[in-house]
């Protein structure tokens, strides 16, 4: 066991260099963020993850983000336990009808300024489970229940996809990008 302790203390970090923020996500966010909101956050984002119906695939990749390899916290991004402490709701779906009210309540508990990220194809309304009687609005897109500021596609999105999207959110919140006009939202 001593070896593991010593290695943990003295080995160089395993965390890898972060990716560039996703430019498409930056475009989408530039429209979503008001100037006023940007200065509130500084370089810190608190995320409350909500599984609103996922197959658990997206959750595994979100967990990977928290590992030493991706080391999300070095960017000032951390997961919090309560929506009341959160700036961002990171929602995976498809949003089921059974979970829609809980998602709405989590959103209502999140103090503004707040952002909603729909993570994964299902949350973006184009997953394999749609259409179904059991999904909010039949397709389970997060927009059917609460407004969405950023879409991260993938089945599941890789940790790098997620990190690119979240870094874009951080940059946008930091006021480092100007609002762009006329970029259609990236959905479907």
């Amino acid at each position: 066991m001593l070896r593991l302790y010593l290695r943990s203390l003295f080995a160089p970090p395993v965390s890898e260099p972060p990716p560039e923020p996703d430019p498409r996500a930056l475009d989408e966010l530039a429209r979503a963020l008001a100037q006023r909101a940007r200065h509130r956050l500084g370089r810190s984002l608190a995320i409350r993850q909500v599984d609103a119906g996922s197959c658990n695939g997206c959750e595994l990749e979100i967990h990977a983000l928290d590992s030493a390899v991706y080391a999300l916290e070095r960017h000032g991004i951390r997961f919090v336990a309560s929506p009341k402490h959160a700036d961002v709701l990171l929602v995976t779906g498809p949003v089921t009808r059974n979970m829609a009210f809980a998602l709405q309540r989590a959103f209502d508990c999140t103090p503004p300024p707040r952002w909603v990220v729909a993570a994964g194809d299902c949350a973006c309304g184009c997953g394999v489970f749609a259409p179904s009687y059991a999904l909010a609005g039949e397709d389970g897109a997060v927009e059917r229940v609460i407004p969405v500021d950023l879409h991260i596609r993938g089945c599941p999105p890789t940790p790098l996809d997620l990190l690119r999207g979240l870094l874009a959110l951080l940059e946008a919140a930091d006021g480092r990008i100007a609002p762009a006009a006329g970029v259609p939202p990236r959905t479907g």
């Binding site: 593991l4 658990n56 695939g57 089921t96 979970m99 489970f129 009687y133 999904l135 389970g140």
Partner: protein
């Protein structure tokens, strides 16, 4: 004594059901099978229904035997197996909710998956009913001096799936846990009806995304059985390779997460690094970090070259020593063992009664692993030996995972050393038939029952996650433990919400 065969011996099996027989039974025989279940002579692996018929998948532990018993229900009712065999309670509550058949004598008639929020009722019935009002869900009454209740969920504090837990505690001690599930019900079974095999494969692959290879393999086996084709040997070996990589990633992740729930972050951090290496190796081999949609009916969609296999072989060699350091850290830390040893003990008798699969059953002495008993190809050629522990506590479930990681590493090396050549996929003909497919996910055996029409479209597909039979046991295992140990117990079970809620 051979109750399964002796009960069903006089009958001739339905001609279109493979590889295990399906018998159409009358009410008298159904009731006698129910007695066999209640007496522990048979295990109930699954129970589900079509609009006209209820099916029970029955397993005889020794010698291993499996059969499906189907009871026609012309007047929409059937005698509840749960009247004598409690593991059937949730299956039959779900049958009421989804198909609308009435299990007579069901001891718990509250809805289960239907929370009253759908635009219809009985979605799998021939004629679904109108929407119902969302009624308050009556939790079981609890009486006693000084008891208090703690409701948790459906949204939990961590990054996990949603479910509701209602704890009743006396001081710090849990006297009852009642689960309420169904939150992530996506309507998978209704969605599957009428889909072609390719679309159905993609949906079943996501019943529980963490065990996607196992689900894809079970579905592929069901299709191959129904259509009467055999996958090529190279495909079977590659499937086993992907399944063992999936088991490695999940078990290593779980070991770390269990230690994390006992506030020991170092092991969690190292397990996170190892798991990421497995995910990346999987991505390198298959182009997807979970190998989603790579196992398909007829074979696999990958055919790695010698260089890719050699890289994976080197990784398998490196992972072993790194993992043993983690095991040593676990085993040498008394403050950690103090949290896991003796905590959340599951009585072996209950594990047997509920036919609990995976680490839940194998940590409580139930020597069942479908890789050994029901779906041995290609494991019989690899000299597979299942893990088994008796203590039934969190520590035993950690050790089953440790044993299985070691065995998976050995299996991966053996597969890579002996991988046969040849094609990786055969054509699957379109034809009508019924098939049952089983594969051993990291969580336990996943089971897919499938009925195809002559165009190769799904008439009915029922994916049964092992969690159906494990969730009720968590309620038993937590009794008498302190509330603060629940995350530890829950993580050591690691049941699927999505796979259960469907």
């Amino acid at each position: 004594m051979d109750p399964l065969l002796s009960r069903l011996a006089g009958l001739s099996p339905e001609p279109d059901h493979r590889p295990w027989p399906r018998y159409r039974v009358d009410v008298g025989l159904w009731l006698r099978l129910r007695e066999d279940l209640a007496a522990g002579r048979l295990d109930l692996l699954a129970e589900f229904a079509e609009p006209e018929e209820v099916h029970a998948v029955l397993f005889r532990p020794s010698p291993p035997g499996l059969a499906v018993a189907s009871l026609p229900c012309p007047d929409g009712r059937f005698p509840a197996l749960a009247a004598l065999h409690l593991p059937a309670v949730r299956f039959e509550r779900a049958i009421r909710d989804l198909v609308g058949l009435e299990p007579e004598g069901l001891p718990d008639r509250r809805p289960w998956l239907d929370h009253g929020r759908w635009p219809l009722t009985r979605p799998l019935a021939s004629a679904p009913g109108p929407a119902a009002d969302a009624a308050d869900y009556p939790f079981l009454p609890v009486e006693g001096e000084g008891l208090h209740q703690i409701p948790v969920g459906p949204i939990h504090a961590g990054i996990i799936e949603p479910g509701h837990f209602r704890f009743t505690a006396a001081g710090e001690t849990v006297v009852r846990l009642e689960e309420r599930l169904g939150w992530v019900h996506k309507g998978i079974e209704a969605r599957l009806r009428g889909t072609g095999i390719d679309d159905a494969a993609r949906i079943v692959a996501r019943v529980s995304g963490d065990s996607t290879v196992a689900w894809s393999w079970a579905f592929a086996r069901a299709v191959e059985a129904a259509c009467g084709v055999e996958p090529p040997p190279r495909a079977e070996w590659l499937r086993a390779l992907l399944l063992e990589l999936e088991r490695l990633a999940n078990h290593i992740g779980d070991i770390g997460a269990i230690c994390n729930d006992a506030a020991f972050r170092l092991i969690h951090a190292h397990c996170g690094i190892l798991r990421e290496r497995v995910r990346r190796a999987t991505a390198e081999l298959t182009g997807h970090r979970f190998a989603m949609d790579r196992v398909v009916p007829g074979g696999v969609r990958i055919d790695p070259d010698a260089a890719a296999l050699a890289r994976l072989r080197r990784l398998a060699d490196e992972l072993g020593p790194a993992f043993e350091e983690i095991v040593a850290a676990y085993d040498d830390t008394p403050s950690l063992l103090d949290r896991t040893a003796g905590t959340g003990r599951l009585d072996p008798a209950l594990a047997r009664r509920f036919a609990a699969g995976g680490h839940v059953g194998r940590a409580s002495g139930r020597a069942f692993d479908s890789r050994a008993q029901l779906a041995p190809s290609p494991y019989d050629a690899l000299g597979f030996s299942p893990a088994l522990r008796e203590a039934g506590d969190v520590d035993a479930r950690v050790w089953v995972r440790i044993d299985e990681v070691r065995e998976s590493l050995r299996l991966i090396a053996a597969i890579l050393d002996g991988l046969p050549g040849g094609p990786v996929r055969v054509e699957v003909p379109r034809r009508a038939g019924c098939g049952l497919g089983i594969a051993e996910s990291f969580r336990g055996e996943v089971l897919v029952w499938l009925r195809l029409d002559a165009e190769g479209r799904v008439v009915r597909c029922h994916p049964r996650d092992p969690s159906w039979l494990q969730w009720p046991l968590l309620e038993a295992a937590i009794e008498g433990n302190i509330v603060a140990d629940f995350p530890l117990c829950n993580k050591s079970f690691n049941c699927s919400y999505s796979g259960h809620d469907l």
